[in-house]
Symmetry: C2
Subunit: 406 residues, 2 copies
């Protein structure tokens, strides 16, 4: 069996068979070059679908709408808007989410219950439905529309986030495409993250649900702190089966594993792009915990490191302050033995057996000036590992976020 | 019974009977006006004592030393240093903590096991024991030494934090004094917090333990996020009994309750002072959750609000971005009903039943420019309440923390 996973040039959500996309600028956001604020992803065939949603106690009615239909219905389209989160607006929010689906269902001539809805942007402001009514019908769908859609869901992101991979299953080409919008925040705490993944694989629903859940756990959840989720966070995957492979229904088969790895690669790529694109920064902090007792320990401790304001500011200052790293790991309260901890910055060891070694300070300062700063921490008490991604904390972040709505 | 709790002018840890203090500059920190870096609190009589310590998996040997003796022994002195955390230095750390106690025991001519040790400062550097050996013997104790001690435990704090209250128990005057050093960090995540509370009350140990645990939960723990504790966090209370009241041993008695309230007041005052004195800021954010279903819900949700970088930056920008507040509350995943939430900023209501009301924007901007910004959130689903305190997030914070060790 061919296990190659190939990246598709300029790949996006329209790369898999049978998907088209379109987007438009309606005026929900303030105008600007190439700006779009409503987008549609459409599949010519209804899709098996699965999703993961925010755990926040306050949930956008757009999320409620989609969460309600995703389990029972076959999704055929996703309509998303940026500029307004449709959150904390009372009962009007659910009416508006439903109307957004209805307008789209009329345009596409499909059932309203086959349309997923997503919103991102300012909280506490009602969706401008007049703009929805006027502009959704004008959206033109095409197989070249993927990049435009990627644009239409951005808020404070500086660039689009999109990718697609190709694999072979039962000798058929299967494609997986994905798009995301960033938290836009250096600490993703309470910022909205949206991601939509399209694929032409033929797969049964239960397997798809398990695959997306596992992929999200190791990717999008590793740029965020458990529980610190926005009111609108949504990851959807929709599979239309047009690749014509023998239907995947066994998670332990080689074919399903290959597909699962491809989905994981899409999610990890998009999650890292989100982390890199924090407000006021362009650099990526990657923390890898190895030698942990359990997978969850590794996931948790790596997340603690990339979530620490003190680690984030140390990276910004090119300061190899490993005390902050060791404190963040300890704060996660995982199992560890202090005298066994090794720490590396971009492969240069700075701590051995819990104690600083006399490393060349200047070489670490240079390493911490790179585009990607990799902290590797070996706990040396097990064989589990995990990664997490975050970004530095800069003055621009503060300036930017102290003047967001006013 | 007289339930008055009176603040003592210029009160500090030497206000209660039988306590003296002293401090000195030894050179662990870089020199500066009035700078001290080693301090001692001494009681002429051994004390009933209790403490709470960091939950971090990495613990300073100074904390280990003190945690080991606090339960079994009567404490008679506390020796503390700033400038060096005595953390992540291998087995040398425990030897040094023990020697620090030993030097102090010789100076004071008391048992080494009656001496609590605390350290705060840079991680990963060994305690300069030569300075300890030279300077601890030179420390002069006096009843005027409380303020100097408060100085000796500071790291990045801009000012000392000290207070004392007086109450009447069984017609005897009982005093409670306290001192703290701040996290120094806007987000207390992984910064060291030390607090020492002295009292001349006569009390049995079990009651004292329960009183300090409860007080810390509602004060110091409400300026921090659960689990995000430094390697050195320590709160100690020591009671020498010299007030000569009838020994307190019943938590439900009016007298014990009064004493407990006084301890709570000391802790709350010191916790707020810490929150106010974050790096790069001088303003205090107070979040009060009322109408919650449980006390823990109120404690948790209020802590989420003051821990949110987005709320902190919004306050810095005088931006009444209540969407960030409502998201932070939801992120805590407590029980709530969105359509019942009311939000007030310094008593001006901005959200009613989960939806923004058309408040006067300018008056809120002015309120958010005050020294203390009070967010009150009524969940309207119960009768429990709690407060938490934090500070704004400023550019100075980033500048300061990006250049801490280098």
């Amino acid at each position: 069996m061919n296990n190659k996973i190939e990246v598709i040039d300029n790949g996006n959500v329209c790369s898999p068979k049978g998907f088209t996309s379109g987007s438009i600028f309606s005026g929900i956001k303030s105008p600007g070059q190439d700006k779009k604020d409503i987008g549609i992803i459409f599949s010519e065939k209804p899709c098996v679908s699965a999703g993961t949603f925010t755990q926040n106690s306050i949930v956008s009615p757009s999320v409620s709408w989609t969460r309600n239909i995703i389990n029972s219905e076959n999704i055929q389209a996703i309509v998303a808007n940026s500029g307004c989160a449709n959150t904390a607006v009372g009962i009007q929010g659910l009416k508006d989410a439903e109307e957004m689906a209805k307008i789209t269902s009329k345009k596409l001539n499909i059932n309203i219950n086959s349309i997923a809805v997503a919103s991102t942007g300012i909280i506490g402001v009602e969706l401008p439905m007049a703009l929805m009514r006027k502009y959704i019908p004008k959206i033109e769908l095409s197989s070249n529309g993927g990049h435009g859609f990627a644009n239409s869901i951005l808020t404070t992101d500086k660039r689009t986030k999109e990718i697609a991979f190709s694999i072979k299953i039962h000798n058929k080409e299967v494609k997986v495409g994905g798009v995301a919008k960033g938290s836009g925040m250096i600490h993703p705490n309470m910022a909205t993250m949206l991601s939509f993944i399209t694929t032409d694989v033929d797969i049964e629903k239960v397997s798809l649900q398990k695959i997306i859940k596992s992929a999200v756990k190791k990717s999008f959840n590793q740029i965020s702190v458990d529980g610190d989720q926005s009111t609108n966070d949504t990851v959807l995957i929709i599979a239309n089966g047009l690749a014509n492979n023998n239907k995947l229904n066994d998670l332990s088969s080689e074919e399903t594993k290959l597909f699962s790895t491809a989905v994981q690669k899409v999610c990890t790529f998009l999650a890292k792009e989100i982390a890199k694109d924090g407000e006021g920064n362009n650099r990526l902090i990657e923390t890898e915990i190895i030698g942990a007792k359990t997978k969850n320990d590794a996931l948790l401790a790596s997340r603690y490191v990339i979530s620490s304001n003190l680690v984030k500011t140390a990276v910004y200052g090119r300061d190899p302050n490993w005390g902050r790293i060791i404190m963040a790991i300890g704060a996660s309260q995982i199992d560890l033995i202090e005298s066994k901890i090794d720490i590396f910055v971009n492969d240069i060891q700075i701590v051995a057996e819990g104690v600083a070694i006399s490393y060349n300070h200047q070489s670490i300062v240079i390493a911490m000036g790179e585009e990607v700063i990799r902290f590797k921490i070996n706990l040396n008490i097990g064989n589990k590992s995990a990664k997490a991604w975050g970004s530095e904390l800069t003055e621009e972040y503060v300036i930017f976020n102290s003047a967001y709505t006013t």
